[in-house]
Symmetry: C2
Subunit: 469 residues, 2 copies
Amino acid sequence: MNAPQAPEALSRPVPPALIDALAARFGPQLSTAQAVREQHGRDESPFDVPPPAAVVFCASTEDVADAVRLAAAHGVPVIAFGAGSSLEGQLLAVQGGISLDLSRMNRILDVAASDMTATVQAGVTRLQLNDELRHSGLFFPIDPGADATLGGMTATRASGTNAVRYGTMRDNVLALTVVFADGKVVRTGTRAPKSSAGYDLTRLLVGSEGTLGIVTEVTVRLYPQPEAVAAAVCSFPGVAQAVDCTIAVIQAGIPIARCELMDANAVRAVNAHDRLGLPEQPLLLMEFHGSAASVREQAESVQAIATEHGGSDFDWADTPEERTRLWKARHHAFLSALQTRPGCRAVTTDTCVPISRLADSINATVAEADAAGLPYFVVGHVGDGNFHVGYLIDPARPEERDLAEQLNAKLVRRALALGGTCTGEHGIGLHKQDFLREEIGDDAIAVMRAVKRALDPANILNPGKIFAG
Amino acid sequence: MNAPQAPEALSRPVPPALIDALAARFGPQLSTAQAVREQHGRDESPFDVPPPAAVVFCASTEDVADAVRLAAAHGVPVIAFGAGSSLEGQLLAVQGGISLDLSRMNRILDVAASDMTATVQAGVTRLQLNDELRHSGLFFPIDPGADATLGGMTATRASGTNAVRYGTMRDNVLALTVVFADGKVVRTGTRAPKSSAGYDLTRLLVGSEGTLGIVTEVTVRLYPQPEAVAAAVCSFPGVAQAVDCTIAVIQAGIPIARCELMDANAVRAVNAHDRLGLPEQPLLLMEFHGSAASVREQAESVQAIATEHGGSDFDWADTPEERTRLWKARHHAFLSALQTRPGCRAVTTDTCVPISRLADSINATVAEADAAGLPYFVVGHVGDGNFHVGYLIDPARPEERDLAEQLNAKLVRRALALGGTCTGEHGIGLHKQDFLREEIGDDAIAVMRAVKRALDPANILNPGKIFAG
């Protein structure tokens, strides 16, 4: 898929003087090799690569600040890069510029176990953090599937499978260290559990996709590892019944920790990829956290509700190994599905609706996808009202891309009409800019643009993302 | 106490032409009566009243937008007014201008029980909302004590006694309707449980104290009324033991719903005011929410921890009436304490620290207050690391005010050194502007100012609050 172009349809030139200055400051931390550049101009979106002109491998906040200052002096865009797992074209150098790779900023700076907080450099990944926390009795719950960096997860306001219980990055970031467009370094908050100290700069940065500042350190909340964990798989005759079951569980106020939908196509894909042998029909993959008594109570309530909705084969994963195997399979769903159609790419949707509208939203979507005849799969954080359809398109056939985008547009407009949003967790990037405008309106976009202009008057921070220009 | 003056030390004039235009548009909704103006220039802070020049009683978002447009045309400040319960001088017309009273915007627009959301006009109070929800099986948990309006609670990022379990306004506002400085009306979000759709305008407005926009409608999360509720009072030999008990409860991960400290002075005050007969020593007032089994389990764990910390007289309030009586007394603590020294006013502190530092913070504070000899009381949402000291000062004796402010300054600087914030929930207003600067630094203030200038270039929205100018 071709990336949308910025209105000027032109990359801004990266003058040799900037490359020289970066080389002088960063030495071997700077790369202009074609392969390195291309790797940093690509994410998991279906867009073609517009690579940056150079990549700086930053090792510290000071590195980031210096690189931003040098780029600012030449009016050249800077795009932060973590794990490269964003889905909406957030990383693509559509106006040229340089990429700042933060993956070497991978130090865990502080774990305050007694306060249940951790402060990490932006390049730390969620699996790395949880590995470090392994023996602390604590864990970091946000789980977008990919082993994303905490900086990247902050930038896209990521969430994932645990959000129904533990919230999203919005709820779990306490404070950030941010490099602004003038190279100034600001700490946006403290480790206090709550604060009313002025504007919420932390939340303004969370979800800003690198367009307002570059996050270099993240302080997050941690949670006690639950005393007991139980996971179960339950199959349903159709997607509609699985969704209705989810709605009933949420409305009953059961504090389920994870409630994930996979349609029959997704189950078939993970069965093939991970040799799971799950019944190839829609299923819910659920997890319960709490004391032993509370987990038992939750599980019994959910099992009763599932049975009422036609659920069967309630299958418990009792050991940590079985649970890990199931969740790995769930996390592989995207890659597994891609392998069902060799050479394909996925156009992914991300709507989120109020829970009472989830059945309307998802049933109509499945009917449209079936009627269209394009291969697809559905996975969803349905406890949040959020689900993803992946339309598997042949990149050589533009008519397939067009069809997938038409289906996506129908799905988004339906979600908006139902009081929902075009993106629950992937962000806007390049792909959803028109939908953002439909969702929130020109006046709200004007407010966002005013904030952007105020904090980045030369438009050097990831320009052309969230809104064009 | 004299209110701090804006740098220009001058109210901006309110031209008669504006009053005429407001009278033409609003008729009897406009008041310029002295008593009405004074009432709208006063809050619960210890500052003297600088009244607005006029008050517009707005009945709709359109009223607010029209009033803002008229004021903007004359470059005149506008200050939104809800219940008048703010504590840091947020309402005071330090640069003159007009007050927009939103208390008539008291309609509950929508309760979506199946989605657990409600949308209300900004003038709806928290008690009114919960009264409306009484038979719905749901409730709105944020409880700052005063029967504040939801608009005001949004503006100060309020929290209160339930925040340890349910979070603050930051966590529980889903979307807002906002009138910006140019009179444009923007809806900042949807009813979807989560979203990554562009900048988080909702969170930017929450806590902005009326300086970026005027909130006219609020969509909030609701929660299922817990199946079981239990409340208990437990006395401790000293404040230190009560605090250590709280820290242990939080670190054990017990999902306690409320955990409130009252020192012996506060207990004496509420005993006198509400005839409670509580032991006049430090106590924790706690509440547990959940299934019957879960509440029992939580209460047993906490009772064991309390006993280890010298807690005694664990006294259960089993009936709703007993619980209501206890919480009413807690909510009266501020007024009850004021009555222990006739004619006094309270200088109130609001620090919040990481939970592991709470004992250090509070013990030193109590020692300093005792040494200073000024009457005081302590109440605290200690499960959040947040507590309030009220120094009871004679407004006729400036040396008492100075002493209280010196004690407050010591307390705040200690909180900052411990990784905390100068304000957990009351906001900055006029009173904490220097502390905000110490807490977050000039560069962060510059970012906040840039946002303010971008959204309110003529500085008409509650000017002089959060930062001077």
